[in-house]
Each structure stands twice: as C-alpha cells, then as structure tokens.
Subunit: 249 residues, 2 copies
DNA sequence: TTTTCACATTGACATAGATCAAGTGAACAG
DNA sequence: CTGTTCACTTGATCTATGTCAATGTGAAAA
C-alpha cells in the first residue's frame, strides 16, 4: 500500500515524459532547426507519422555502431552526441558533436552500414526516422528531399571547413575556432553565446581537433591566463569573443 | 585557297568535338558513375535537357571561386579538378580532387555562394547542372533527388574518413592511404589500379594531406627505396599494393 | 640548341606539439 | 569516511614534421 503510493508519482512522471516525447513536429521547439522547415502543414502530419520519438539515452550509451546495419536517421531532440570512426588498428577520430535539431548518421544513407559510431555525451533523447519510410515519403514530398539535401550539404560544408582546421591551423587556432563554433550553435538554439557547458570531455575535444589532451589543457590555461575565456570545469565563458575570432586564423 | 584547306580539318575536328560533347546522358561512358543511375529512360531525357555540356577548361583555369554566387552543380566529364578553401589570413587547404563522373560543388547547394573554389588540374570538361532546374526537375523525379542524396552522403562519408587521415595518421600512412584511394577511383573508371598519372602537383598532394611538400617528397622516395612504388615524375606504379594497404593504419 | 622557370628532391636544423611522468581534485563505491 | 578511479593539469623531455637553403630536372619558351 505505502509502496504503491511511493511508485505512483514516478509513474505519473514517466507518463508525462512519455507525453512530452510524443509532441508533434509542428509543436516541437526545434521546429526551426530541424527538418520540417519548408514543409507545409499537411506534409508535416505525414512526416510526423514516421517519426519515432525514442526514449532516453544515458551518457556513454551508444546510438549506433560502425558495423551495425544502417536503417535509421537520427535527430537529436535533447542532450548531445559524438560520432567516431576508427582505423583498422584501433585509433579513433571523433568526427563530430551533435546538438538538438542536428542530424546524426547522414553519411551512412548510401551504405549498408553506419561506418561511424555515435555515443551520447549526457542524458539525451532523439527522433528516429526509418530511412525507408523517409524515402517513401520523399516520393510524395519533394520538399522533404530538398530539406534533406540542404542538411547534407550543410554538414558537408562544415566538414570541408573542418579540414581546413585539421590541416592548417595551430593548436590555439583550433581551440579558438572550436569554441566559437560551439558558441554560434548554442546561440542558434536560444542559449547564451558567451557561457555554456562543454558536455564532451577534454580528451574528446583534443581527439576531435587532432591534438593531445595535454595540449588542449595547456591551451585552455593559456586562453584563461590571457583573459580570453574563463573555465570552471565543464563550464566555459567567452570573455573576449572578438579577440578569440582574431585568433581563428 | 590553301589557307582554307588548312583550316578545314580543324573545323571538322571542332565540330566533331562539339558533337561528342553533346552526347546524351544515356550514351555517356560515365553513365555508370554519374547521376543518372537509377533513373528511367524517360527521366533521363528530361535530365538531358537541363544538362549543359560545357566547353573545355585549361589547366589552372577556375571552375568557380569561393565568393561567386552559387547557381550550378558540376560533374567532371574529362580531366580533373581540385577544390580549396582558405582562412581569412590566406592559408589554403585543398579539400578534394575530382575525377570524371564526380560532382564538384555539392557543399554549396544550401548556400548563396560557393565557399570553396575549384580549379582544373589539366585540360578538362564538365557537365553543368543549373541547380534551380535540378530542383524543379526533382519535384517530378524523386529518384533524381534520391540519387543526389546518395552522392552527397557518399562524399560526406569520404570526408569523415579523411578527417581520420588528417587527425590521426602519420605522413607515411597519409600518402599510402591517398595513393590507394586514387588507385580505387581509377580502377572504378576502367583504368589501371596499379599505374596512373598524378595530375596534381606534389605540393597539392602535400597540402591536401596536411603536410609540407618536402615531407611528401621524402615519403615518395622512401616508398620507392622500400620497393612499394615506382615514380617517374607524375606517373606512379604501385608495386606492392598489399604492403601499401598494411601501411594505411 | 640554350635559357628559363616552375616543380621536385635532398640535407641541415628548428619547433610545435606528442609523449612520459607526476600530482591534484572531484565523483563514487564500499 | 576512505579508498579507488577517472578526468584534468602541469612540467620535462622527445620526435615527427616543418622550415630554410641549396641543388637537380624536365618541359616550355626563345
């Protein structure tokens, strides 16, 4: 009896969360950032039908792995993810970080398997789009395809830019560029451009930027000593965005 | 009179070349590699109508520049191109090389301007697809859109892999990976996988792989000393593909 | 043919960033 | 509360690759 009453609020909470997850695309706060933009109301309802709003992922939980058969596109709903690929001898490269409204797994849609793996960086949730259904719907809604094309193209452009960073920038330029890129993405999502939480570890950042953890740590301290940023563990404040921009190369 | 007879064969040659350039998609030798794959015969004719088979580009001639307004997708018909992006302070990164049947400029289709620039590496020709027309046609032919999506996704996957190269591989692993990647692409085009011409300069290769020209030069000599490859200027022969593969990391 | 010029190679030396090693502090299990 | 662990920082050293300088080479120009 007392046990039942203890559990009751938890059940209600769960139901409420469940309900929140069932929110329709047209009501989703990510509307502006996610796929639907450019779709008509009727189209949206169709899209809505194929979207599976999946449960939560805990930190370090895998969304998909490199060898797994590709079937589903994912959009981050809340939280964040990282993607990685590996050499045959086990070295890994963090290929990207993904925030709410961003697609994960786009590079796989022409292949039988995801080639990279994706892992949650914190408690996160996603929308899953079975790609077969997306394709079928795409036959009816050319706008949906166009939107997908735009998404892919945008990610491609980002990656080309990232090649410039990996190939030609110094450690300081790399970190400055990275922090400002995060800043812009948070701002776009309605968060502060000046202060945010790094949900990824220093070593994830280092790996992504093609540097050693120690180097990242040193550059963080240098930036702090120079008054460019302030860090308190995972929280970063950008004190002088303009000077940071000048540092990007 | 004698002048006329001298010019006559040239005119005929030109006409013939002109005609070759007008070859329809369905008869093009790149059919298998290019966009049309998966399109029906009727669809092909529609696609054919919007394709502009453009004249030749000489080595070093620009296909588009970073600031130029985006309007057209390009497919290499013959020859080869490189694409580059630059930092504000003028450093450049070669982001890719493009061979017959490959799309150039996909990363721009969501933007007002090409963000990168493309330059011919040798005498080359292209098919130009005005993107507005592609979009319009895409409304009627969902398969066309799907094909484009596949193209983009493929390039994206390639770029993610390239991040692994830039971020985590040694100079030797980089060059070995690069040579084998070229080899596969040439083989796919019906050329020898073992012997081919490097249409790009050593310094283009170095830049692309995030290395100095001198390093590339040294690794080439090392590979040659080790009996892995033979080079004669721009011509490379891969003598021991398996050992090269083992070197890729 | 000779000249030229961009490209390529080779050697000597410099350095950004990696690696190794040690220490700190916060989170977490027992 | 205490020990263990993991993420992060800091310092000392090492090294892969960059930079600088000189020389070689082959194709186009003269």
């Amino acid at each position: 009896m007392s046990q039942t009453s203890n559990i009751q609020p938890l059940i209600e909470d769960l139901a409420k969360r469940e309900q929140e997850q069932q929110i329709a695309c047209e009501d989703c706060s990510l509307y502006r950032l996610c796929l639907p933009l450019g779709l008509h109301r009727d189209d949206l309802l169709l899209l809505d039908e194929i979207v599976m709003r999946s449960g939560n992922y805990q930190a370090k939980q895998s969304l998909f792995t490199a060898t797994e058969a590709f079937s589903t596109l994912f959009v981050v709903r809340s939280g964040s993810f990282k993607t990685m690929i590996s050499t045959s001898n086990g070295r890994e490269q963090v290929t990207g970080f993904y925030f709410p409204g961003e697609f994960v797994g786009l590079e796989a849609l022409h292949m039988p398997s995801y080639q990279s793996s994706a892992v949650a960086l914190e408690t996160s949730s996603i929308c899953a789009l079975p790609y077969q259904k997306v394709q079928a719907l795409g036959e009816k809604l050319p706008r949906l395809q166009s939107q997908l094309l735009n998404r892919l193209s945008k990610e491609l452009a980002g990656d080309k830019n990232f090649m410039l960073l990996l190939g030609k920038k110094t450690s300081e330029e790399k970190l400055a560029t990275y922090l400002l890129s995060l800043s812009k993405r948070f701002e776009l999502r309605g968060f502060s451009a000046k202060q945010f939480v790094l949900t990824m570890s220093r070593s994830d950042i280092a790996n992504h930027l093609g540097l050693a953890v120690e180097t990242i740590s040193r550059v963080f301290t240098k930036f702090q000593d120079d008054g460019l940023i302030k860090t308190e563990g995972k929280v970063v404040s950008l004190a002088e965005i303009e000077r940071l921009q000048a540092l990007c190369g």
